[in-house]
Symmetry: C2
Subunit: 455 residues, 2 copies
């Protein structure tokens, strides 16, 4: 007997129950994306490595899955690359031209540049597809996972930010997940760096203050000192990053602290506009200013958004922000946009932890007909067809197995109703409908049964 | 300026219009799969090459996309494999352990074996996912494309065949594609080979007669002669493969011709039962016996199914059949099943050729609010929120650009309604709703506008 087969580490099979749950999440996100006027696109799983390499840093380049060229891929390769055990690093680009996408952002940028003449700006797209990373697999980190991104490019208007915050709110309202939306603005971070006299140290400063929740103020101060920020600057920074009070009060304190930085003041103005307009439209979630929020600093240039679950400790479940130069690396500079990405795997974990799946979203087959032999089966199949024509998802047990075996299938698959057509029912042209949750049985006509199942 | 980026040959980007059309097809197939009690699964894009290799013949092995191992993949490789320009054929298994799936059947078989203890038999699953083949790209043939498969394993009952035929009929009824469903049975083909005295030549015989529609009887006869079938056998074969009349008449003639072959008679009995029961349930499509239908002969063991469009010449758009030994290669012998696969790309071509997309399935955003500046935009966003709460997909033009530019966006994106909130409308708390198809404008309250858009 052959060895039991397996799948590559870091990948997953999804059976019917996981699929129903995941689809509930994806369908919810997709519906809301569409509700807000975002249109779907899909890009190929494989991109040319020239598109992907150099976009995610050296570490990212290593984590790209690379696809071996077809045919005799060694033909024409410089023999020195194969000598002395081979030079994998320099051989790779010669034998692998394609790679699996690492995220949806770079393929989106490539898409925009490639199709620039066909696109209507502002271009609002969403994309829900898997991505692949050759990361070391661990709990909650997979080598194949889905991203759910929505971006609008070609518009500087803060209306886009406001709409994205509404969109986030609507997704989690539909999923019944209580969230807090944290906001910041890169210009505020720049302003802080300016004001404490360290504009060129903005990366060091934000990396350090990003950790304040985890390691506390003293450790952040120590780290800043280590990174070469003078003690005096750190003292000026402390009150800013430890501000308390309502978001409005903190914005006010921040405005006083950053009064001398036009960049910082612009960031505060943007935050105010976004927060006020979004709140005026009515949100379920709370909006919270978080000046320690940095997220991919080198990428974002304006609003920065991060979403956390109020009830499950799991880190960020959605994030995004505004960027100025999505497509510059592909020769199309100056395209501004703002986008968000839902973390489907973490949202799945949150819904599992809180058991938030509505019954109707995860019910597969609604009715199973039993099978007592050819005559009964033929009559059952006619009734089943009527039920399906009425939109009910149903099946018939294909063999006339023992009743107990048939019922145990309905049980195992959590099918809520079983329809029994035996000799008696057949004679009356009816069926016995068993509610599997209550055990209750009723002799019904097909149309009565349809009503009962739909009720 | 960087070179304009591109995608690997044989792959495709899908923009919003193609996505809407493709999703209409996938959603239709998915709904009908669920209506018939099939449950979704998904398997990883990459499988271990030990799972994939040797399952598709030598040619298939070459067409597998192989993924280069991560890190220093040459470490420990036998240096002789790198000597003298290298030995790609034998090097590959040392430097690539994973490959992209080539179809959904082998991953499904692997899934069934791996999860055998968790599965409820009969196991009815569907799977809609992309597959990859390093084929030479040409018109209509891609290196990444979707398959849409439904299979039931663990049951020999012909009810499964009958249900799959109903399922096929329902999918194409919903898509408004007129089809003919061709049926055959591998046992009939075996019976024919027996009756003409050439049971061991069944493959040669079926490969030849499979071509009768394309090359005609004389050419088929010549080919059979060439393949070593005696002239006498060929003469006995001719009347069988050129039978005319209704399906019932041809089954009758076939029964006379194959009377001496128990296997052949069993095949005829199965065909009769499947055809009669399916027709008794009422089909939109026609069922047609086609004894020249072979499709993957070495795989199928009973019913063979193929679907063609009545109105577009494009080959098979769906196919499938019964098999006896899906999982034997993974050490789990004797698992019988029957399955079908919808050819999404060809169905897409058929729908495009006949322009069969319903308007509501391909309408994205339903309403666009114009933008005349901050005050009007704020009021518009309130109205837009009400519309979205009522389930209408809408957007607001994010910038207060020239009216002409804003309207041209709605036009280009085929958004059916534009909502205009200017000074006058603002004063009245109303909006001007423009029907983009008729040019008609109406001053309406938000709730009136919601009714108008939904109507």
């Amino acid at each position: 007997m052959a060895q039991k087969p397996s799948i590559p580490k870091g990948t997953r099979d999804f059976g019917p129950i996981e699929m129903a749950r995941r689809n509930y999440i994806f369908d919810t996100i997709r519906s809301v994306f569409r509700l807000f006027g975002y249109a779907p696109i899909e890009t190929p799983s494989m991109e040319n490595l020239s598109t992907l390499m150099g976009k995610y840093g050296d570490e990212g380049d290593k984590l790209l899955f690379k696809i071996l060229n077809s045919g005799d891929y060694l033909r024409g390769v410089d023999p020195t690359l194969l000598a002395d055990g081979g030079d994998a690093l320099h051989l790779t680009p010669k034998i692998a031209e394609k790679g699996l996408r690492y995220d949806l952002t770079v393929p989106f940028a490539r898409f925009v540049v490639q199709h620039r003449n066909e696109l209507q700006m502002p271009f609002k797209r969403f994309q829900i597809q898997p991505v692949w990373r050759a990361d070391r697999p661990q709990k909650g980190r997979y080598r194949e996972f889905y991203q759910c991104d929505a971006d609008v490019v070609g518009s500087d208007s803060l209306i886009n930010e406001i709409e994205l915050l509404q969109l986030i709110d609507e997704v989690f309202r539909r999923l019944s997940v209580r969230i807090i939306i944290k906001l910041n603005n890169r210009k505020v971070l720049s302003g802080i760096a300016e004001i404490i006299g360290q504009p060129e140290k903005i990366t060091d400063i934000t990396v350090a203050i990003d950790k304040i929740d985890k390691i506390g103020l003293d450790a952040v101060k120590a780290e800043l000192l280590e990174r070469g920020i003078p003690a005096e600057s750190i003292e000026r920074l402390s009150p800013i990053i430890t501000m308390t009070g309502s978001t409005e009060q903190r914005l006010e304190s921040l405005a006083q602290a950053l009064a001398q930085s036009p960049t910082g003041m612009k960031g505060i103005e943007e935050l105010r506009e976004v927060i006020n307009a979004t709140e005026a439209l009515g949100l379920v979630a709370g909006l919270e200013l978080d000046v320690s929020l940095a997220r991919g600093l080198n990428y974002y240039t304006g609003t920065i958004i991060e979403v956390k679950s109020r009830d499950v400790e799991i880190g960020s479940i959605t994030g995004g922000g505004r960027y100025d130069n999505l497509t510059g690396v592909f020769g199309m500079p100056g395209l501004s946009g703002v986008g968000i990405s839902f973390g489907a795997d973490r949202i799945y974990d949150v819904l599992n932890a809180l058991d938030l799946y509505p019954k109707e979203a995860t019910t597969g087959t609604q009715v199973m007909f039993t099978n007592f032999g050819a005559t009964e089966a033929a009559a059952s199949m006619k009734m089943l067809k009527q039920m399906r024509d009425a939109g009910i998802r149903g099946e018939i047990y294909p063999d006339s197995a023992k009743m107990k075996k048939q019922m145990s299938r309905a049980d195992a698959l959590a099918i809520p109703y079983v329809a029994i057509v035996g000799e008696n029912e057949l004679a009356q042209g009816k069926l016995m409908l068993k509610n599997m949750a209550t055990g209750e049985q009723q002799l019904l006509s097909v149309s009565e049964a349809i009503d009962a199942i739909k009720a």
